[in-house]
Symmetry: D2
Subunit: 211 residues, 4 copies
């Protein structure tokens, strides 16, 4: 049983991105799960290929993509990936798409297949601030989330997929902007992985692995 | 050189108050400062006597009162204590004062005598989210702050006084409400104390200690 | 050319709902559009039938459903209706669904077919505060919006559909909660209707009207 | 019985300031009050002289200064003017004072002498969103408010003074930023004036006007 966890490189001129900082701090095992990680570029043009390559390398049972949402105070387990991309700030290649689909002709949206409500319940039990979210936005986070679920809907992949938005790390001069300590974010990711694993063995067996 | 740091007991039906939790974690020395602590009741009727008793016991050079402000994301160094008390929620005795003065006939306000801007600069340098604040509200926090500065204005006391509002601890189900990790709050209090000490020896000498 | 505009009855113990108040103030014509209106119950069990009856009566070219979102400051043109219903507060029948689909077996989501970005541009031009929104929530508003777009996807209907979330009316004691004047909300609905009409004649001709 | 009401010119590169827009729409009488108005420069260096000249011209019984606070959703009746000026953005002369007193040697603060709580109650009764505020900030608004109350504390003036912060007007592209309709802001100012007048005749008689 293996989980792939991705984080994003910094964007919008910032020097750190809480998502990749926390992903780097993950242990190599969480319960019965082997954990591998990857960094994705904050780029509409390049993120999909990097995600697919990481999935191809890892052949994971679970994929959790993690991104930073600087205006949020809680760990946000995303429910839905939308077939829409629109940027208010340029991505790291300077791209500013206006209302284009992520996948032309793809369905309007996918729901996460990780158990989202149990994940939030487990986060609460661990004392972490968390909630479900109905929108991952239309920036590169949603773009990656949509591609992830689009892969998951294909024949050849067999993984549970989901997306976690995390607050920014404390930024001294950010006034009353919310933040979360790095340790809590990393712990939160582990907890979401732990909540995603149960029942996986019986439900997600690969073709050819049974006997 | 001695600092007295106070925190408040929980109020409004909550089970913890970030201020006293963090104050309890302070070491007994911060740099050249001896640190003593006290818990204050969240009570208009009883807080003043508890504060005065703690000051009388400690005979401190610095007094930093710490309170929790659940809607804030940053450590807030308060600048001004106002001669006004008004409660929207009952204190721990059920009191709900309406626009009464803290000290009848007292001045409209006192400014903190701790070096507030250097304190914020030191917090920023330590990577903590912090800002100056122009209002400690009109609840028991401001009541205590006003009494503190009223004591400090009296002949017989010789201390620098200030007030620090701290965010709530992470509350799992608080949705998008801001919070701060306990370790960061405790570290922040130490840093404010460190910023308050310089120059104290020469300026705040007690009567009788000079020669 | 005809538009049906719906608003909701009050809910959550409130005495007014900005959406129906504004809908009631609409004129019977906006540009070349005849405008008819209907009030929908804030009820998961009863809203769909009321919506369908209103559509059957009006046989409209455009359907704009309007709902109140008390935490928003701007007119929010919704982009996406999600196949998910979940309530944190009971609807007017006391229902509290937990993560159920709006339509079992329906697609994960529908995008609005009204021209959403031109609608926001027209609102801005009129001096009204407006933005696109990526989530209509999971309460009765989204339930109605999903059913609306599900109807629109069916063979027998030929209308453009969309959803507009409007701020609450000014509530004197709501502290710093956002609001919008009733006149501005009603004007905003007219503007969204005006932006929805162009090109409709040629594209949305009814069967039998062509020759 | 006469009231002077002041508003500010635009600042921070904006083209309108809700305060002066609303002040310009005031009628020349509100109940038994004659109303005169003045525009103040958003300048630490020039506002005081303009305020004093307007007071000297009008010889008012009531002075209400009005300013815009773009992040607020409610009409905010300010309670306290603080002897502190500090700017995060330059005023209209490019001044950026850092923690200087408004009046060197002046008291730490003044409380408004207009009846602030009755004013908020009257605003609520009129259906307007309103609250008391404990800080007018440290920008030119507070500077003017402090000078106003400093004048009021002097022997030669006999007026009730206060300050009202008003939301910004609707700004189309301001996203979820709060706002208030111009008509409501203007109506709010009238209501505050109406609430300020009672009891004035008997209490605030000028020397020499009695017989």
């Amino acid at each position: 049983m293996k989980a792939l966890v991705t984080g994003f490189e910094p964007f919008s001129g910032e020097r750190v991105n809480a998502s990749i900082e926390a992903v780097r701090r993950l242990p190599s095992r969480v319960g019965g799960l082997e954990v591998v990680t990857a960094e994705l570029p904050t780029s509409y043009a390049r993120a999909r290929a990097a995600l697919e390559a990481a999935i191809a390398r890892a052949n994971p049972d679970i994929v959790l993509c993690v991104g930073q949402a600087g205006e949020r105070a809680a760990l946000c387990v995303e429910r839905i990936a939308v077939n829409l991309q629109h940027a208010e700030i340029p991505d790291n290649d300077g791209a500013l798409p206006v209302d284009t689909p992520v996948v032309a002709g793809g369905p309007a949206a996918y729901l996460a297949t990780l158990p989202v409500r149990p994940a939030v319940a487990a986060l609460h039990e661990a004392g972490l601030q968390a909630q479900l979210s109905m929108s991952a936005g239309t920036f590169v986070c949603n773009h990656v989330f949509y591609h992830l679920m689009h892969f998951a809907a294909m024949e050849r992949y067999r993984f549970r997929g989901g997306f976690l938005h995390v607050p920014a790390l404390p930024r001294p001069q950010a006034g009353n902007a919310p933040s979360m300590a790095l340790e809590d974010i990393a712990r939160g990711i582990e907890i979401v992985l732990g909540a995603a694993a149960p029942g996986l063995e019986t439900r997600n067996q690969r073709p050819g692995t049974r006997d």
